[in-house]
Symmetry: C2
DNA sequence: TAAAAATACTCCATAGGTATTTTAT
DNA sequence: ATAAAATACCTATGGAGTATTTTTA
C-alpha cells in the first residue's frame, strides 16, 4: 500500500463519484478506478458498493476513510515538522516567461519541477507584453526574479544566458491567398507582399532580424507600419491579416486555436527565420532550486520536441525581443 | 511522498547503514540511497549526516523518524481494522512445489503474489522427494493443499491440470569425457554410454519416457540400476557421474551451483527430452486467491523465460513424476 | 586497503493515458 | 439516451538493478 492509494481512496470517498474524484486528483477515471481496485484487492475487502445508481462506502470503507485521513494528516504534519527543525526556509523560485512559452517544453519544465519539489513555492510570472518581458532583465538585476525566459536579449555582464530552444516564425495568410495552398513558403515569395510585423520601436533586434532575413532572400520588405500595441498577442496581427492588409510574420501558434480569425499559417524557408528563446538568470545566482529547475529545462528542451519543429534556425541571425 | 520513502527511511535510521538497510528492505543499496535522497530533496532538509565515518541522523531526521514510525503503525492498524470490519477472513493459499521449481518462473509467481497480496497468508510447501511430490495429489484431494506443481501426473477426475512449462533434461558428464567439449549432445551419442537415471520404481512414466527417447534415437539404453534414493537431489547422481560410473540424464540445474561435483552439463537433442511441469488443483476449487495466483503463474510462464530454454519439448512423450 | 556510499548507466514494471464497451437509470 | 464505471490496450515514467567510482577510516 502506498499513500497514493489512500489519497485516491479518500477523494473517491468524499466525492462518491469516480469521475469527479479523478478530476480532483488530476488523473483519468480509469487510472483512479484501477488504483482503488488494487487497494481493495490488497486489503481483501470491498470499499465501495457500486451496485446501485450511486457509489457508496461500505462499512470497511468507512473505517478506512477515517484511518486514511488520519494518516494523510499525520504525514503532512510530520513533513512540516521535519522541515522546520531542519531549518528549511520556505524556499521559493520565481520564474518569468512570455505567454507563448506555454506551448514549449518550458511549460513542461515548470510542471515537472512543481511535482518534484512540492515544498518549493514556485511563482510563475507570465509576461503578456514586450515591455513586461524586457523588464525581466531588470528584475533579475534587482533580485526580484530568479530566472526568466525571453528571446535572446542584448549582452549583459550581470546576467547569464543559456539557449533553450528556437521559436519558428511562420507566415500568417488570409484564407484564399494565392500562397495559402503551398506546404511552405519561401521568403522570396513575400517580396511583393506587404508584411505585418510589430513596430520596430519595441524590439529593434527582432525587427532588424526579420528584415535581414528578407534581404537574405533578395528583397527589401514592404512593412505595414504600426504604431500601436506592445502586445505580443497575435490577435491584432491576425485580424489585420484576415482583413487582407498583408501577410503576417509571427511565432507559430502551437495550439492552433486561432482558426477563429480565418488565418492560415505556413512555415517559412530560404531562410527559415527563427528566434532564440533563452533562459536568463543573475550571474552567480545558483540556488539549489534554480539549478534543479535549470536541469529540468535542459532535459526537456534537448530531449523533448523542439519548438522549431525540425527547422534549422539561423542562429547567427536569431535576435531577441 | 509515498510510504515507500518512509519505510526505507526508517530502515536506514534504524540500521544507520545504507547497505544493511537495503538488505533488510530487499533491494540494492543504490536503489535505497536514491529513494532516501529523493525524500531529502522533496523535504528540502538532509536527514542523515554522512560526513563522519558513520551515518548519523540529523535533528530533522530524528523528528521525521518519530513521525514516520507513527504513520507506518497507523497504516497497518487502519488496514487491519478495515479488513476485520469488511469480514475478510484471514485467507491463505497453500502452494506445493518440488525443489527444482525454484529455478523456474514458478518461484517468481510466488514472489509476485506475496508482494501483490501481502495480507494473504502464503504457505510454501517445498517437496524434496519424489514421494512428497506425489503426495501433493493426495493433499489436494483431502483439501490440505490448494495448488501443487509437479511433473505431469496420471489423469485424475478430481484434479484439474494445467501445463506450466517444460523442464529440459540435460546430460551430466564427468570432466574430461569425450563428449564434454560439444555444444550439445545427440541422444544417439549416448548409445554406448551407461546412463544414470532414478529407479524406475519411483516413477515409471518418467523413466519410460526417457527410455522411449532413447528408442527414438535408435538404441536401447544401458541404464545403471539403482535401488536407493527417492531423493530428487541430483547430488547422488552427480557424484556417480563424477566418479565415471556413467552419464546422467537430469533436470538442468539453472543455478550452476554444482560445479563442486566436477560435473559438466550439456543440452540433449534428437530428440530433446523434456518433462512437463504442471499445476494441479482440486477441480472446482476456485477461491479468488487461487485464481489470482494462477493468473500470475500464467503470465510469468508464458511471457517469462521458459525453463526449457528454447528447446521444443516432445509434448507427447512428456511424462510426469 | 577495505568497506560503504555515491554515480552512471540500463531495464522493465506499472501508473497513467486513450479508446471503447458495459451498465444502470 | 445519457452518464458513469469497467474493460482493453498502449505508453512512458521512474523505481530498481548492475557495474563502477569515489570516499573515508
Amino acid at each position: 500500500m502506498e499513500l497514493r492509494h489512500l489519497r485516491y481512496f479518500v477523494a473517491v470517498a468524499e466525492e462518491l463519484n469516480f469521475s469527479r474524484a479523478a478530476g480532483r486528483m488530476y488523473l483519468s477515471q480509469p487510472a483512479l478506478s484501477q488504483q482503488v481496485r488494487k487497494l481493495e484487492l490488497e486489503l481483501g475487502v470491498s470499499l465501495f458498493s457500486r451496485t446501485k445508481n450511486h457509489v457508496e462506502l461500505t462499512e470497511a470503507g468507512r473505517v478506512l476513510l477515517e484511518g486514511a485521513r488520519r494518516v494523510l494528516v499525520l504525514v503532512e504534519q510530520t513533513a512540516r515538522e521535519a522541515r522546520e527543525v531542519g531549518g528549511a526556509e520556505i524556499s521559493h523560485l520565481r520564474v518569468g516567461f512570455p505567454e507563448y512559452a506555454n506551448h514549449t517544453p518550458v511549460a513542461d519544465a515548470l510542471q515537472t519541477f512543481r511535482r518534484r519539489y512540492p515544498y518549493v513555492e514556485l511563482e510563475e510570472h507570465e509576461t503578456l507584453t514586450l515591455q513586461e518581458t524586457l523588464l525581466q532583465i531588470d528584475k533579475l538585476h534587482r533580485g526580484t526574479l530568479d530566472i526568466g525566459f525571453m528571446l535572446k536579449p542584448e549582452e549583459d555582464d550581470l546576467v547569464e544566458i543559456e539557449h533553450v530552444l528556437n521559436i519558428e516564425l511562420v507566415a500568417a495568410l488570409p484564407e484564399g491567398h494565392p500562397l495559402a495552398d503551398r506546404d511552405a513558403i519561401s521568403m522570396k515569395d513575400l517580396a511583393d507582399e506587404r508584411l505585418i510585423l510589430f513596430s520596430r520601436n519595441f524590439h529593434p533586434r527582432s525587427y532588424d532580424y526579420v528584415v535581414a532575413c528578407c534581404r537574405e532572400a533578395g528583397f527589401k520588405p514592404k512593412v505595414v507600419q504600426r504604431k500601436e500595441p506592445q502586445l505580443y498577442s497575435g490577435a491584432t496581427t491576425y485580424r489585420m491579416v484576415a482583413s487582407g492588409i498583408g501577410v503576417g510574420i509571427v511565432a507559430r501558434p502551437v495550439l492552433s486555436g486561432y482558426r477563429q480569425y480565418d488565418v492560415i499559417f505556413k512555415p517559412l524557408k530560404d531562410p527559415a527565420p527563427a528566434l532564440a528563446l533563452v533562459a536568463a538568470w543573475r550571474r552567480g545566482h545558483s540556488s539549489p532550486n534554480l539549478q534543479a529547475f535549470l536541469e529540468g529545462v535542459r532535459e526537456l528542451s534537448s530531449i523533448g520536441g523542439q519548438a522549431s519543429n525540425g527547422l534549422t534556425p539561423n542562429g547567427d541571425f536569431a535576435a531577441g525581443i
